[in-house]
Subunit: 321 residues, 2 copies
Amino acid sequence: MHIIWNQYPEIKEELLEIIKLMDENAKCKDKVIEQSIKDLIHANGKMIRPAFTVLAAHFGEYEPEKVRALASVVELFHMATLVHDDVIDDANLRRGVPTIQAKYGKEYAVYIGDYLFCICFKILASTASLQSIQVDSLSMSRICLGEVEQLNSRFNTEVSVKNYLKRIAGKTAELFSLSLYIGAAESGCSDKLTKSFWRIGHHIGMAFQIIDDILDYTGCEKSVGKDHAKDIQEGVFNLPLIYALEKQPKDLLALLEKHPYSDTDLKEIVQLVDTYGGIDRARRLAHQYTQKAYKHINKLPDNEYKMILLEVAHKLLDRAY
Amino acid sequence: MHIIWNQYPEIKEELLEIIKLMDENAKCKDKVIEQSIKDLIHANGKMIRPAFTVLAAHFGEYEPEKVRALASVVELFHMATLVHDDVIDDANLRRGVPTIQAKYGKEYAVYIGDYLFCICFKILASTASLQSIQVDSLSMSRICLGEVEQLNSRFNTEVSVKNYLKRIAGKTAELFSLSLYIGAAESGCSDKLTKSFWRIGHHIGMAFQIIDDILDYTGCEKSVGKDHAKDIQEGVFNLPLIYALEKQPKDLLALLEKHPYSDTDLKEIVQLVDTYGGIDRARRLAHQYTQKAYKHINKLPDNEYKMILLEVAHKLLDRAY
């Protein structure tokens, strides 16, 4: 279990129950499949999304079994998308451990991802209301669309800020929203409160992804656990670069045209993005989303879970970036 | 619309409505995504699975809108698995037209498949009962497992008949069963009748896949629409080969060890499989499943849809193989 939860024993205990439930749902006659899913479950992810479901559910009538099932769905869905992302990105490491595809091959990773999707709906159908399954599947389809949009805009030097925001709203913020929403909705919270959780998830998710993307420019391998400037190499042009491109800088445009980029190219691109103010502007937008998230969390009814949500949001969003 | 339905105008009309519904569900702000899904919908597939749902539903209280939605789900799910199969197989053609991945790349195909999965559950949640969604998701997860099992047994010369049957039960028969089952179950058929449809789907599916696999040995590119002996090249050892291997033939084993196979190797493998009686034995097993399917269909309550089901089964299973 990630250290982030050590100071919230109640949430930590619940997350351990959720891991147990995911392990149970990973059970399969084929032991290789079972083990590869368990490896994912125990890869020490932060479990932010299921924690969000748990926290939001505490604002209504908390039914432990139901909440755990719903929380396991958002985490398993997240895992499914990660497995497929790694296929696309040709990634060998995820959370510091070899990816499914590095261990078992791409083909295997495609089907394991599909299998995880099906498990999600199996759990949902035995737990959630039809309305929640509808919201879930619609939301999940938007997440897939976000991924497709990211693909379609690769190496496009004319990609707009609007397009970028739409893309990350789909691929990241949507699942944060869903995690909070489903916890609240299935625990009988009012429509108003449920919608408010959806917005909080959106703002946290947007800030989180922008920060993550900034770290691609400012981070090093150690602190973010992935290769420096990897997104640029793959043609995924993120906010700092898009802002820099708005100034139509001939040197940067010329560099971007000659992909695949050498290490020197990448360093130079990052340097130019910084020079053209892209990183600073991106930081300001991340800050705006972060502030909006805090504002909306502060408006929630007062209880201990609100404080935890606020603190966790701080931990997620006040990283050095 | 495939010519197979020309002599059943009522079913054909219903299938056209189902295509319309799939088109509606393919609607998407991103027009490239929408078009690529519509290309799949209009690729002139046989629409066997949705037709099965329609036929089975006629044994109960037929609710057109509900049945169409359920039928579109089984076809869209089938498409999702095909899109991902093509990613795995590196296939460029499907039903004679370029595959999604040939047109838009593998990455795109992975996410479009995921998106189709989500659409399936979105439609299900707005149409079916929770119980049917449970059956569906469980069934879909077994289909994915069948695919994984196929991968895990590639190039394994010790693969058993039992393993093969389990694999095709998952990857093919399961969806035939589900298509019939969901039509019957959601139209209020009795448990006994619903189970009977499940079995019919199983037997048709098993016979269908064994025949398809035999065609990999006996067919030519034109008649099956895919490369001759393609499965062998990919290390997917099917029933005729497995039967031949049971005789522990040193010449065949030696050939199988030296993959990738040349065209001459492939011809020789096919020849040896025939010599060792693999094709004949596979034909006999296909025949047994076919007969079981007919027997169970004959036991259904008498009506015009029973006759159509029987005729369609004949068309599917009495191919030259």
